[in-house]
Symmetry: D2
Subunit: 340 residues, 4 copies
């Protein structure tokens, strides 16, 4: 009997290292074999699978993307547990490793409740899961954002401009917080903390007074205090994001008007999830993969692997899913000392 | 008597290395002294200058931006040769090194025609000057674009998407051509070559058939064949750029409609001109700075430095300005062999 | 009264971010002022100090090295507590932030025992302090080592060679473990785990059988099982390192002889501690700096800041110093699954 | 009939991009097919070949190493033209693209003289071929060296040390010259220019007087003026390199003794030829590959492709081989202005 493995949701640097870690340990130590499922739950529902040999995972620890492909398909919209059981049986799978975010882990929990042998690996580039200290992909996203902000700063300084940089983070501001701290931003705006244009203006003008080109880092989910109504009127898009264009595009002209400083904006977008993972993420992802196979062998169905300090642990999916890990106010205030 | 030095126009990685090269050679070999002029021609017109000592240029070869600041001021709109002469006299300058693009070099040529002692250093991140093989900044822009496209490709492949990446190049497609070649793009779209949506669709579908996530690299100044009229109706903005949003934003939905492949887009924008210059640009810019001071000492007024093969030469500003170095059709066709 | 601040021992990416974090929070929030002490304890013993203003720490979060300079001077060899007290008084310092490794923190503990107001910040690029999950500098060292190994692998593969790469780690193997895992090494050799040449040969040959160019990552403090005697005969150098040339230089010919595979070696040395810190280290170091000033204000003398999961804590220097955090056998075995 | 393709000699970033360029253009435009020859001339002499399809060259433009493998075998030691002709016939090859350095191109010229259909592509990471402005690999080596020197400088500055960095260049100093210029080195030592220890000492002390940590960049083939005798006594190794340990290892203690400044050294070695090629090298290598296939189709036997300004040309192998492109004295003196 084989172990099925799938990656689901938005892609995230480190997915391949998880797969590699699981397959090598499973093959060499536990003498198990694997089935790769294409494009997340879609491949399971549509029976699009293939034997996943050790040779295929060679050299994957530093490779971005996912060799399995991914999609946003939900197994409960495509047949549910019956269909999952059927396809697993047809491919001689007795268990499943599901690598994905909130949605995937919720589906995995429900499938486990139905008796399907599933173990989860948390994937959230936004770092918004409370059951694990960090997940792979986050460090890479922060690194790319930091390097990009470092670059944008030099051109802003040459032109005495203000630069507004939008990073990922629909519901939480971890990437903005870390990349903003790392790059010495003069203001960091996150969904968790209501901030007025007056406050932002004050930070920007103070930075300018000290001779700096002001840099504002903003999480994509940030809504300006007072802007909620406008956002509400225009409604939200399918992902719960205001339909008014990116937040950096909205903010830049407001800041230019309020401060009189020429202001440019940049949205880092897909760049943040692309390319080779950082060494940190490669190590964490490899350990998650190894931990997942251990959980399968220990038959810890309905759990997921997690980072606890410097150790890999398993936690119940029921506990892991449902609460967002937001940036605590104290962490934000600690960072805000460095603003302006 | 001092030598004045200014940087003008959009900033460009390598400006500081030019300044450093000129100041060190001028100070140590020719026993000359320098005046830094703030923010390009603005500082000259408004008499915003300061003594520029060797100590100030220390460590600059790898630093992005410009320690002199820059602006888009034109000296002919702010007083003309009389004012320039006056401010130069007031600051004991007998000559001027003007580092800038087409506009700056044209102004420098006119000032030289009026008898002002000026030497130019070409700065064009787009590589659109025919009088020099390459200029500094171009290699850095191509490197950043290539690295970014490499990253975007991994996420496109995980999701089986098409990715449209917009790079700099309002009038010429050199950055798109080189970054597209370096990253193995499946289509490169440049202002010099009219291309239809049908042709693009064919390249994208062919790449998909071969199992790739299609990558389209487009210069910001590219206009789709047949789209000129729409662009003309909406007019151009102050920089001669179509007022219809970025070209990647326009193209992505068209490609998605035509191919049925989910398509995302990214505009690299200011990222391409930020950060530390590549080693190539540092060497070229340092040599340009050294060459500029040699031209001053040789009293070659009205010339600019240029790269000819592996040598630094000087060319007349009259010859250097006015004709755009576009991508020759043969170079594009050579690249197009690799499309699809 | 001012707060003195010094950096001591081998330099480490992130030192400047600690200084910046401490100075900005101290200045803006607690209205305190700072004295910079040059070159660690040397500056304190020799009264080589200067006012450290906020302006001086501008832009430091991403800068390698230390603006304060560093040295390996021990305060107990240069006057002891009396002299420290005297110089502190002369410069109006009422407290001290000492950023350094094992030696510095031990000295800080002794000074605190004598009643001097000192707070420590742990600096160990090797990650060998048990009282903190991680310290800044380690992630940067692992990143540089990983990137270097990735590069060396391509040339090894072109020539079908084995590559032995020596990384830092005199007493512990954390850098080797993480960089080896991140780069997919075929063998990782660390001081904590005795390993025979036969075992290494087996791993190398297995990698070759699978068509790979074998990569061996070795911590500088590793001694081959059976080689201790030779090392003992030749004695150790001042830093407790075998006097027989680097370990990679010793191992490479042995591996070549034993396997018949052409083998090259590279010692990464100082590269690993140079350059701009990673985003991870910048954030951690900034938080350590902020935490240190909080400890000073709270008068937690004789403590140091530490990372506990995702929180910054303070721990007693007495508890923090003295036991090395070695790589646990279980962590090594987890990694060894991927060898060969 | 197929076209054979081989890579020979030390590996060099960009080899894969040459292969890709040749195979894609040959396949798509000229309807030709290819045979890959393993490990350079060894594969030809030993008949170790395989069909090289377009699919195999996918994604290669940014990949370091060579998918064909390489070796230092000389065809004239393993059978000569008769054997080459025999193996070519056995594999239905009517022509050959040989990518390699001085040795390979000399062999190719001799084979062409014997009537074998061969076209060369120059590969010299040292940039020592006079018949081409630049070759691929050189820019990557300079970039890696520059980045490494930038890193080493920060740690040197923290400790007030002098740093001696050895880069590639057995016979010519191009990498040292460019990397030294790009990183702002205080002395550059190259094989072409005799330099005394007194002169080096003067540069190092002057840099120290100006408050810098002196950085000395030295090409591996540099011999200190006066040291030739010692080198001669100890003889040269198989590659014409002094048998006295690396030049950086020899120089560092001499500089420390002469200046009284603590001095460390680092040899960059294999790092410089590893990893992904720069965008510059990818473009140049791709164009060389495309140019090589054009030369084959045009039956320009006995020629090699070359860069002339911004154009790809072909030159006779007879003219191309034999004279080393050394650093002209004027280029060195231009750089030396910035020393000290």
């Amino acid at each position: 009997m084989h172990i099925g493995i799938l990656t689901s949701g938005g892609d995230c640097p480190g997915l391949n290292a998880v797969i590699r870690g699981a397959v090598i340990k499973g093959t060499r130590i536990h003498d198990r074999s694997f089935v790769g499922i294409r494009d997340g739950w879609r491949g399971l529902v549509e029976d699009d699978c293939f034997p996943l040999k050790r040779k295929r995972v060679r050299g994957l620890s530093g490779m971005g993307g996912t060799i399995l492909g991914t999609s946003r398909t939900n197994p409960y919209e495509g047949g549910g547990p019956e269909r999952v059981r059927e396809v697993m049986a047809r491919n001689d799978m007795d268990s499943l490793i599901a690598i994905g975010g909130e949605g995937t882990l919720t589906a995995a929990r429900r499938l486990a409740d139905e008796g399907i042998h599933v173990v989860g690996v948390p994937k959230t580039i936004d770092n918004d899961l409370s059951a694990t200290d960090y997940t792979f992909g986050f460090d890479t996203a922060v690194s790319i954002a930091t390097e990009s902000i470092d670059r944008l700063r030099t051109t802003a300084e040459a032109h005495h401009r203000c630069m507004v940089v939008e990073v990922m983070g629909r519901h939480v501001g971890w990437i903005a917080l870390h990349a903003g701290l790392a790059s010495g931003a003069h203001a960091i705006l996150i969904p968790e903390v209501a901030t007025t244009l007056d406050q932002i203006t004050e930070w920007v003008l103070e930075a300018q007074r000290r001779g700096r080109a002001p840099v504002v880092v903003v999480a994509e989910g940030f809504v300006l205090d007072g802007e909620e109504e406008a956002v509400a009127q225009h409604g939200l898009d399918a992902f719960g994001r205001p339909r008014l264009g990116g937040v950096a595009q909205r903010l830049a002209p407001m800041i230019e008007d309020a401060t009189g400083i020429e202001t440019r904006q940049m949205t880092l977008g897909h760049l943040q999830r692309g390319g080779s993972p950082t060494a940190y993420d490669r190590v964490l992802a490899t350990r998650f993969g190894v931990g997942a196979i251990d959980a399968v062998v220990a038959e810890q169905w309905g759990t997921m692997v997690a980072l606890d300090g410097i150790d890999i642990a398993t936690v119940s999916l029921t506990d892991a899913v449902g609460t967002l890990k937001t940036v605590p106010r104290a962490r934000y205030d600690e960072a805000a000392i460095l603003f302006g």
